[in-house]
Amino acid sequence: MSQPLTCDVVVVGAGMVGAACALYAARAGLDVVVVDRGPVAGGTTGAGEGNLLVSDKEPGPELDLALLSGRLWGQLAEEFGQFIEYEAKGGVVVATSPGSLTALERLAAEQRAAGVLAEPVAGGALYTLEPHLAPGLPGGVHYPQDSQVMPALAAAHLLRASGARLFTGRTVTGVPRTSDGSVLGVRTDRGDIHAPALVNAAGTWGGDLAALAGATLPVLPRRGYVLVTEPLPRMIRHKVYAADYVADVASHSAALQTSPVVEGTAAGPILIGASRERVGFDRSFSLPALRALAAGATRLFPFLAEVRAIRSYVGFRPYMPDHLPAIGPDPRVPGLYHACGHEGAGIGLSTGTGHLLAQVLAAKTPDLDLTPFRPDRFAEEAA
C-alpha cells in the first residue's frame, strides 16, 4: 500500500502515558512513531480528572515515581503550562473524626520522611484553606505538591511537541518477531511499522497488546465515573478529599477509605471523581455509583447540594493485581517495553514513566530502580 515505516521506537497508545513516552524518547534522540486504534486521548486519558497526586500515596515505589513525575510536570508546565491547564493548586486531605486525624497525621509524617511536603492543618486553619467545607471538621493535611492538568490537552500537546509521527485510527493486529523472539515492530490493519523497540502504552488494553507480543500482563479494568457540575466562580481552591481509616477485620490492619476528590477547575466546573468498581468493560450508566459520588461531595461541601451536575463521564482505569504499574523492558520478549497499568494515577505518573522508559531505551541507568515495576513479576509468582 505504502512505503513500510521504519523508526527506532513504536509506541502503541496515544494517551497520556504514550504521549510522555514519545516526548522523552524523542528528546533522547530517538525516532518515534505513535500508533493508536482510536483518536488522541480516546481511552482512559479522555475520561480522567487529571490528578497529579502525592497525597494519596504511602511511602514506597509509587510515591517515589509520583515525586519524580511531579518534578517533571513542573518542568513541562514552564513549556506548556497554559495550553495544558497545569495548576499547582495543592491538595487538602480532610479527616472527619479525631481518630482519623491521628492516623492521617501519622501517614503525613511518613510521607514527609519520603520527601513529600505535608503540612498538618488544625480545624480553624482548614477553613482558611477551604472556607466552604462542612463545619466541625477536626483538621487535615495540606499537600502543596498536589497538582492538576487537563489530561486530553496534555496528551495532545506533548505528542505534538515530541515531533513523533502519529497514526490514529490504526489498529495493531500483530507483533512480528525474529526467530529468537525479538520484536521487529508492529503489524497494523493499515501496514507494518518496523522498529526494534515496542512500547506498550495501551493502558487498560495493555494486556491484549502484551499477548500479541507473546507475553502475559495481568491488566484489568476498573470502572470510574467522574461527575461534572455547572461552571461556578471559584468556591473550592484545592483538590479536597476526606480520608477515613476503618478497621479491616479480615486483615487486622487499618484500611484507608477515601471520599471522591472534589475540586474546582480553571474552566469553572467542579469535578467529583472517581468512583471505583470492578465490573469489566461495562459502559452502562450506574445511578448508584453517581449517587455515591454526589453524596460524598455534598458531605464535604454542603453548598454543592444546590449545584447542578451537568454531565458525567466513564472510563476504565487499568489496574494490576498489586496496584503498581508495569514499567520497563520485558525480559521474556527482547524489544518489548511496558508502560501501563497505572490504575487511577496514570496522568500523574506519566511523566516519570516516560522519562524512566526513555532512559532505558537510550541504554542509560534509570533515575529510579525499576525492580518493583518489572513486568514479569506476576509470572514468577504464579510459577
Partner: protein, 469 residues
C-alpha cells in the same frame, strides 16, 4: 390505587398524547409525565391561560385533532385512568429489576425531585431544533424559528417588527406566515433548498397531498402579503452591535457554495433561523436502547430493543406531528397489550401503520430536499463562536483538527471544550461535526437535564408522585 401494571408516558406532545389515549383506552393505567404546564408539547403549544386568548386556533392548524386529544385526555384524567403530571422535568429513567423509576425535577425551578414508578415506559420526548453558525449568529435578535413560533403560540407576542426567516426545512413556511399574520413585517424568507429538488422527490412527496396542500396554503398567504421568498439563498452574516440590524444574503450555486458577488444586505431587527430538527434521545441512550445514527431503533410495534421501553414520535426519526400521532397510537396499543399479558395484534392498528408508512416516506423525501448548503462551513469565520456555552470559536475547532489530531466529536470536545457546557452539545453538535468533517455521533449524556447534586445524592427509597392530576 390500582394494582394493574402501569405505563409511564414521557412527553405530552402529539406522540405522547396519542399513546396515552390508546393505552388508557385499553384499560392500562397511565402516568403522563411532561415538562409543560399544559398538554400539547411544542406542536400544540397553548397560550398561557391567564392571557385569555380568544382565538388560539388562529395560530394552529389541525385544531380539531388537538381538540380530540385534549378532550380525550381530560376524560381519562377525570375517570382516574390517567394521571397527568405537569411541570415534571425528567432527568433520568432508571431500569430496576421490577420495572422503571422515572426521576424528575419539579418546575419551573427544577430543584425538588419527584419519582414515578412504572412497569413500562414510553418515550415521546420530541425533538429539538438545530442551527448552524454563521458570523453574527449570536447577536441578540437572532433566534430559532421554532423559538419564534413558541413565543407566538405561548405568549401571543412577536419577537420584533421586521424579520427575516432563514435556513432550511418545512418549519420556515409556517413560522413566516405566523409572524406575518401577527403583524411582523417579513423582509424575506430565505430557503437554501433548491426548488428543483422537490420535483426530483415528487414521488415521495405526492404521497401526502394533504401536506403539500398545507404548504401551498402557506405559500399562498406569503404571496398575498408580498413576502419576498428566495430559494437557493442563505444568510452569510448577521450585522449589528447591540442587536441584529441587518443580514447579508447570498445566492448558492448548484454545489451549495455561495456565489461570489451575489451578497445583498437587508435591514431587519429579527432573524429567525432553523436548519432542521434532531431527535431527543438522551433518556433512550441512558436506558441502553440501540440507536440507528441519531434515531432510537424501534420495531414495527415501536418497541426499542430494551424490554419494557417503547419510543414514538421524533425520537425515532424526525417526521412531524402526523407521524408522531400514528407512532404514538401504535406504541400505546402495543404497550397496553404487553402489559395486560396479551399478544399485540397489528390488525388493531392497521390504519395507523399505513399512515406511518406514508408519513415516513414523506419525511424521507423532505429530508432529501431540505439540506443545509453543502459548503456552509466555508462561510464560518475563525472568530465565529460555535459553542455558545463554552465560547469555543471555529478557529479553535479547526486547530484541534488540523494540528492536534482530533478527528471525531469526542476528541474535539476534549481538546476545545466545545459541547462541554450547559447544553451538552445539543446546540453545537451538528456545527462542530460539520467543521471537523466527522459524523454527528450521539454523545453520551447521562442526565437529560442538569440535576442538583443534593437530589442526585438522595436514595429514592419511597417513590413519590406529586403534581396536578
Amino acid at each position: 390505587m390500582s394494582e394493574r401494571p402501569r405505563l409511564a408516558v414521557i412527553g405530552a406532545g402529539p406522540a405522547g398524547l396519542a399513546a396515552t389515549l390508546a393505552a388508557a383506552g385499553r384499560g392500562v393505567p397511565v402516568t403522563l409525565v411532561d415538562s409543560g404546564t399544559a398538554a400539547g408539547g411544542q406542536f400544540y403549544r397553548q397560550p398561557a391561560a391567564e392571557l385569555r386568548a380568544r382565538r388560539p386556533q388562529a395560530l394552529h392548524h389541525q385544531w380539531r385533532t388537538w381538540e380530540r386529544l385534549r378532550d380525550g385526555l381530560h376524560d381519562h384524567v377525570k375517570a382516574g385512568a390517567v394521571r397527568h403530571l405537569t411541570d415534571h422535568h425528567v432527568w433520568f429513567v432508571e431500569r430496576l429489576p421490577d420495572g422503571f423509576t422515572v426521576h424528575a425535577l419539579l418546575g419551573p425551578e427544577q430543584e425538588d425531585p419527584a419519582t414515578v414508578h412504572a412497569d413500562a415506559v414510553l418515550l415521546a420526548t420530541g425533538g429539538y431544533e438545530h442551527v448552524l453558525p454563521f458570523p453574527g449568529w449570536t447577536l441578540p435578535g437572532v433566534l430559532t424559528a421554532g423559538g419564534a413560533q413558541a413565543m407566538l403560540k405561548g405568549t401571543l407576542t412577536v419577537p420584533g417588527r421586521t424579520a427575516v426567516v432563514a435556513g432550511t426545512g418545512p418549519l420556515l413556511l409556517p413560522v413566516a406566515t405566523g409572524l406575518a399574520a401577527a403583524g411582523v413585517e417579513l423582509a424575506a424568507l430565505v430557503e437554501s433548498a433548491d426548488p428543483r429538488a422537490f420535483v426530483r422527490q415528487s414521488r415521495a412527496l405526492v404521497s401526502q397531498p394533504g401536506k403539500l396542500g398545507e404548504g401551498a396554503a402557506y405559500a399562498g398567504q406569503l404571496l398575498r402579503r408580498r413576502v419576498r421568498t428566495l430559494f437557493r439563498h442563505t444568510v452569510v452574516e448577521a450585522h449589528g452591535t447591540d442587536r441584529v440590524e441587518a443580514v447579508t444574503l447570498a445566492a448558492l450555486d448548484a454545489d451549495g457554495r455561495v456565489r461570489p458577488g451575489t451578497g445583498r444586505r437587508i435591514a431587519c431587527d429579527t432573524l429567525a433561523v432553523s436548519h432542521g430538527m434532531q431527535p431527543h434521545t438522551d433518556l433512550a441512550e441512558s436506558l441502553g436502547c440501540r440507536l440507528d445514527g441519531p434515531r432510537v431503533h424501534v420495531d414495527d410495534e415501536q418497541r426499542t430493543d430494551v424490554p419494557g421501553v417503547w419510543a414514538a414520535g421524533e425520537p425515532t426519526g424526525i417526521g412531524g406531528s402526523a407521524l408522531a400521532l400514528a407512532e404514538g397510537h401504535i406504541a400505546g396499543l402495543s404497550a397496553a397489550a404487553r402489559l395486560l399479558g396479551t399478544e399485540a395484534d397489528p390488525g388493531e392498528w392497521a390504519t395507523a401503520a399505513k399512515s406511518r408508512t406514508r408519513q415516513r416516506e414523506f419525511a424521507a423525501g423532505l429530508d432529501r430536499v431540505y439540506r443545509p448548503p453543502a459548503h456552509w462551513t466555508e462561510q464560518v469565520a475563525d472568530d465565529t463562536v460555535l459553542c455558545r456555552c463554552e465560547e469555543v470559536t471555529a478557529g479553535a475547532v479547526r486547530e484541534a483538527v488540523d494540528e492536534l489530531g482530533a478527528g471525531d466529536l469526542r476528541t474535539v470536545k476534549l481538546l476545545t471544550r466545545a459541547g462541554m457546557g450547559w447544553c451538552q452539545g445539543r446546540m453545537c453538535g451538528p456545527a462542530v461535526a460539520g467543521l471537523a468533517g466527522c459524523r454527528l455521533t450521539p454523545s453520551r449524556r447521562p442526565f437529560a437535564r442538569p440535576v442538583p447534586l443534593g437530589v442526585l445524592a438522595q436514595e429514592p427509597d419511597r417513590p413519590t408522585e406529586r403534581g396536578s392530576s
